[in-house]
Assembly symmetry: C2
Homo-oligomer: 112 residues x 2
Amino acid sequence: MQLSPAQAMELWHRVTVEALNQELPDLSARQIALLLHIYLAPPPHTVRGLSLDLNMSKPAVTRALDRLSALGYLKRQTDMADRRSILVKRTVAGAVFLRDFADLIKGQARRV
Amino acid sequence: MQLSPAQAMELWHRVTVEALNQELPDLSARQIALLLHIYLAPPPHTVRGLSLDLNMSKPAVTRALDRLSALGYLKRQTDMADRRSILVKRTVAGAVFLRDFADLIKGQARRV
DNA sequence: AGTCTTTGTTACGGTTACGTAATGACTTGG
DNA sequence: CCAAGTCATTACGTAACCGTAACAAAGACT
């Protein structure tokens, strides 16, 4: 996939502005990264693993999970093999949200 | 520019995660949108205009400008034709930051 | 058993952001 | 020249977020 710097900026511009105008639940950069990571990177996903992968502190991961699970975009499940760990699981609502977001990007990409 | 939903998500995922790992100054979605808008949409840019274009309250625009100008990414200039208004201007530092960001996107796009 | 380690969460203090409402500076129009 | 309107900012209360440090729960190891 080829993309000039100018195209890259125009795409990002269009998407961020459009996201603001649609008044999506406004997630921080970390929350978006976390959500995308859970849906796109291979499981399992634990707090510790996410903390390392995304370069954020464990409490920050916990709080992001609180927020995203309150929105219904994912859920926690304690790992039965090691009950200290929790496994972060996808949900239908999260998949729908990301699908819509992907469509927004796709739509704006077509205009670039 | 064509982009499947899956490609769109993968690109967004790669870029957001990479941005976290590089520990760029973490800007909110609004701040990024504002910065991109100022550099990509045709001037002039006033607080009121930005507030309308980006669907955010005027105080939110003022605060975002505070933050972004503290980082040196843009500057205010009072409009001499109507001294109530301010014109938001680009800076070299802002252009450099966005150029780097565009390169980051471009680099990740190549891997998608 | 008991200690040490690991995992996720909570507590705390501080920072940053928001929106509504009030304010100050300036322009406009009667 | 003064009242009304417009522009940006500040004030204020609230909510969200951060990182460090303390914590409870579970596992590992002797």
